[in-house]
């Protein structure tokens, strides 16, 4: 359950403020290296001829590639709690496919920061939302990501 009494500090002014955090042009080379790293062999991502006959008519990127894009750091709520932090959870919703050659623009905001106290002690969660759009301003994906801060 939420722990309203837990002691932690963060920058409340940043809540809900959307920032542009970067853009990335997704090339065939980038897709191929990503596929090699995660063991993707789907011809929709790697084979021009097979992709041309597929539902998208050309090579697309694996949906999960968006989660692997490195952008400028997300907006920082400057949580001051504990001595370590790590990913707690994420959810992606996918809309338009990312085609080779697309440029993806990413914006992000901090949705909320809250504490929970359980058997392992108090943890502070920061929840971020990111929107991914292509160069035609079509929505490509939406992500909600949570990071946990705790005392190791």
């Amino acid at each position: 359950m939420d722990d309203a009494d837990a002691e932690f500090e963060y920058d409340r002014d940043i809540l809900g403020v959307e920032f542009e955090v970067g853009q990335a042009t997704i090339t065939k080379e980038h897709i191929a290296r990503y596929c090699a790293a995660v063991g993707e062999t789907n011809p929709l991502y790697l084979d021009d001829a097979a992709a041309a006959e597929g539902p998208y008519g050309a090579i697309i990127a694996p949906p999960s590639m968006l989660s692997g894009l490195l952008m400028e750091p997300r907006p920082d709520p400057d949580v001051r709690f504990g001595n370590t932090s790590y990913a707690a959870g994420t959810k992606f919703e996918y809309y338009e496919p990312v085609r080779a050659g697309d440029t993806i623009h990413v914006s992000a905001l901090v949705k909320e920061v809250y504490a929970k106290t359980g058997r392992s002690g108090t943890m502070v969660f920061a929840v971020y939302q990111s929107r991914y759009r292509n160069q035609r301003d079509e929505p490509v994906a939406f992500e909600e990501f949570a990071r946990v801060f705790r005392q190791a």
Binding site: G39, N42, P62, N83, G89, T90
Partner: protein, 144 residues
């Protein structure tokens, strides 16, 4: 790649694939992250042991990518991954013997063709722990 059709799927169907999260694969995953955006890598190197962890861990986004691969390989080229979520319950340690698994939990035919399939997805290590658990929703075509 075989096409999966909505009529062929039932709750209880299971799929799985082994995953070898080698140092080389983790390093390559992290390297690919900076290719498109042209930014320098800013996260930990693959050899660093972060506070609170026993060994180097696998990035959460890489574990999510492997779960996505499991589902997209299974659904075929005309399927669509609508959404995927994961809770990171424990660290995924590099060099653990890992499997990515999925279990069909629900199916729902859509009014305008095709059907939605919900799957529980998870990563399991050799100790029987499931450090990542989540849900994927895919859209499958109807059989012609």
């Amino acid at each position: 790649m075989d096409q999966r059709y909505f009529e062929d799927v039932e709750p209880g169907d299971e799929i799985e694939t082994p995953w070898d999260a080698t140092p080389e694969a983790v390093a390559e995953f992290m390297a690919t992250r900076r290719l498109a955006s042209g930014l320098p890598e800013i996260e930990d190197g693959p050899e660093r042991v972060r506070p609170g962890f026993e060994r180097p861990i696998v990035p959460g986004s890489m574990s999510l990518a492997v779960l996505s691969r499991l589902v997209t390989d299974w659904m075929g080229s005309r399927g669509r991954l609508r959404s995927i979520s994961a809770s990171y319950r424990r660290p995924v340690y590099r060099d653990d013997q890992l499997r990515a698994l999925a279990l069909v939990t629900d199916t729902e035919k859509q009014a305008e063709g095709g059907g939605l399939v919900k799957l529980d997805v998870y990563i399991e290590n050799e100790r029987g722990e499931r450090p990542l658990q989540g849900v994927a929703v895919v859209e499958l075509p109807l059989r012609p």
